[in-house]
Amino acid sequence: MSDRALITTRNLSVHYPLRGGLIGPRQVVRAVEGVSIEIPAGHFFGLVGESGSGKTTLGRALLRAAPITHGEVIYDDGEVRYDLAAIDKAALKDYRSRAQLIFQDPYAALSPRMTVRDIIAEPLEVMGLTKSRAETDERVREIATMCRLNLEHLRRFPHAFSGGQRQRISIARALVSRPRFVVADEAVAALDVSIQADVLNLLRSLQKEMGLTFLFISHDLSVVAHVCDHVAVMYLGRLVETAPTRQLFARPRHPYTRALLSAIPSLDPDDRGRTRRLEGEIPSPTDPPPGCKFHTRCPYATDRCRAEEPELEDAGDGHNVSCHRWRELGEELAMD
């Protein structure tokens, strides 16, 4: 594992215009706001946060599939270096083969009229990455084997498959172009627990075998804790904390991370604690509160928090945290 950053963003913002009324100012959704993050090559990087926090939007911006309103996204795999906000058409075409997306819904993602072989082969054909049908077939068989798909099944149609098998087909399709960077957006959310473990294990082993860098987006913190080596937490379009997985789960430095962790229902029936529950709901991204975006729900908020937005700072131990009070809160937030 090398620590060179494959993806670096600086102050990245993605704003969507809202179809506003005739009167009043035009509104925008600040889906991602001022995010600076580094995803080291070879990492299995987790991205968590509640619904609407901007995870999908950030993932898509890194794939150049969402508009980059402000800031920079740099992709650098040692072979090529792209500045995604200013990338030209030819380079973008090359980038598409280097960066891929795995979707959440294994039922919606696959065209019902194509055979499994054609579904997996399509990216190669669209991007013109192979010279002959024989070469395409060879690549399809190779990736299908790596994804533990039965080669006999390549001639079938996707409706014949269960959720877990469909997700393996989607993974094969995403990896057939031999990308370096893969965004997996809620890739196991639609699967039953008994099947989910199989897909997670497959993703981890593919990452090692193919030397991939993953951005693994999930709202399930227990899953992220098990598969990711590094985690970033988002709230209302902002990055609030990043840290190596174990540090994050043992010693969260941001009050929101702490609250997320305590909200996970424990598997122990004798541990029915209800301490440190968060009140209220996530504010609307069209009308975010001033100051720290979390102050409306934070038990530690002060006047400064209500007025001034904290910056992401290095808090040691590999943590980066965006909270005015992280120094004083250290012990208070540790998980026991």
Partner: protein, 333 residues
């Protein structure tokens, strides 16, 4: 403890274009008053249709087995829901003795009617309140589940509320008629964890206050561990294990329950490998013979599990399991 519900030999099939499929196969269980029963199982295992059977709410193509009995023990004596026919008779259970929070959030609220009018209408049918009293109680219930500005929300439509708010409103509506049994079908699955935690706390408070029994359906064993007294595990339409929540989670006896727990990421133990249950859930059109789990069971007994349906065996007073191997280990076979 006082018995509230006995489900006996519930069998439910659906007529479909591809033939008759079995969704629930000979399921029996009981619930005591004030008890919370968790119902878990993979998608398609029959949790929702079992729950809907308790109010005979399944689609028209449903065919109930002739042995099926659903006995509700009400103050005026037992009622077999299976024998209720007319809409009037059904009112006794639907929204009366039993309320349900549906898995499809929009199924609980009609889109074109305000939340308030729906709550009032229910109360007018099921209680002898007048309109004014019904309105007051509804607003009180909305406030009770933590909806701020309840009087204003009363006049809103379901789509105007956030997910967490809508879930609270559904709980308020389901509880306003003071049912004896609340069926909550995945009430927190679509919610964020911080909101899920709020809703779970709310439901616990309401059980303590109202003393009704709950059937809590979920995929999430953590949610079960946090809310339920007992748990029933379903697989492909069959109940495979049932018992007190501590025992089933700590000492699961059925290979499927064990597999489910082994597959679950556990925050307390990040080094635990995630072990999937091998294979895939068979289609309901290809129900395995013998034990329904035998196509995925790594400890299946050759020549037996494929042919013979395992019957329930008591492990102790409350914990029971349907598995040939568990029975053999017990020396009971």
């Amino acid at each position: 403890m006082t018995r509230l519900l006995d489900v006996e030999n519930l069998t439910l099939q659906f007529d479909t274009d591809e033939g008759r499929i079995t969704a629930v196969d000979d399921v029996s269980f009981s619930i005591e008053q004030g008890q919370v029963m968790g119902l878990v199982g993979e998608s398609g295992s029959g949790k929702s249709v079992t729950a809907k059977s308790l109010m005979k709410l399944n689609a028209r193509n449903a065919v109930y087995g002739p042995q099926s009995r659903i006995i509700l023990h009400l103050d005026d004596g037992p009622v077999d829901v299976m024998t209720l026919r007319s809409a009037r008779e059904m009112q006794l259970v639907r929204g009366g003795a039993i309320s349900m929070i549906f898995q499809e959030p929009m199924a609980s609220f009609a889109p074109a009617i305000t939340i308030g009018s729906q709550m009032v209408e229910q109360l007018l049918i099921h209680t002898d309140m007048n309109k004014k009293q019904a309105r007051e109680l509804s607003i009180e219930m909305l406030a009770r589940v933590g909806i701020s500005d309840a009087a204003r929300r009363f006049d809103q439509y379901a789509f105007e509320l956030s997910g967490g708010m809508r879930q609270r409103a559904m709980i308020a509506m389901a509880l306003s008629t003071r049912p004896r049994l609340l069926i909550a079908d995945e009430p927190t699955t679509a919610l964020d964890v911080t909101i899920q935690a709020q809703v779970i706390d709310l439901m616990k408070d309401l059980v303590a206050e109202f003393g009704m029994a709950i059937i809590f359906i979920t995929h999430d064993l953590g949610v079960i561990a946090q809310t339920a007294d007992t748990v029933a595990v379903m697989y492909l339409g069959r109940l495979v294990e049932q018992g007190p929540v501590r025992e089933v989670i700590r000492t699961p006896a059925h290979p499927y329950t064990r597999g489910l727990i082994a597959a679950l990421p556990d925050l307390e133990n990040l080094d635990k490998p995630l072990t999937p249950v091998p294979g895939d859930i068979p289609s309901p059109l290809e129900r395995p013979t013998g034990c329904v789990f035998n196509t995925r069971c790594s400890v299946a007994i050759e020549g037996r599990c494929q042919h013979e349906v395992p019957q329930f065996m008591q492990l102790d007073d409350h914990h029971r399991v349907a598995c040939h191997l568990a029975a053999r280990e017990r020396g009971a076979a």
